[in-house]
Symmetry: C2
Subunit: 122 residues, 2 copies
Amino acid sequence: MDALLLVAHGSRHPGSSDEIRALAAKIAQTPGHQFDWVDYAFLEITEPSISEGVLDCVRKGAKHITVLPYFLATGRHVSVDIPTELEKARQEYPQVRITSTPYLGAAKEIPDILVRLSQEAT
Amino acid sequence: MDALLLVAHGSRHPGSSDEIRALAAKIAQTPGHQFDWVDYAFLEITEPSISEGVLDCVRKGAKHITVLPYFLATGRHVSVDIPTELEKARQEYPQVRITSTPYLGAAKEIPDILVRLSQEAT
């Protein structure tokens, strides 16, 4: 069983959790992936935390969890905090393979998207 | 003269300003836009601030500034803080047209990019 775990920052804004939940559902419906389900978790402020998200995946029977950092900037969160959480999870669940993708901001498509968005100014 | 002003959150991480500067340069080189130049500014922590970024565009002769919020989540920053800064700027420079695009997280391409990134796990 193969799980994708989308990891966002977390926010005090009440709608932000719904936004990530909706995004996880959209990813699940997008063609081109091999995941049995798409879950989500937050680095701070909002629940579920990363360790809760990993636990949920493990309980559902995940043998491989792919973590996707939904962040734009490389910084402490991406380079230290998330890897630290994942290392803890690997030690706790040695039978589960836990890997991570590059963070969203590193995606090569971003400049093209920004140019397209720039044509939608109101 | 038409300017694009990329607005990022700002970070204590020393490399984050370079990352936004490099992204602004990449956008400038991406085909499909009408901007004479691409500038960048930060909502907090990092300089230049939004008001400094707008002032810089005005000094360079911008008649229209398109602001692009480089944010993933809709929250106070996107819904209140940036619009408030832009409203101040409009009052200060009534001769300049200042508009804003949707924030990056609202772009319809995001789920496809996340699926592609999920195939790059290491």
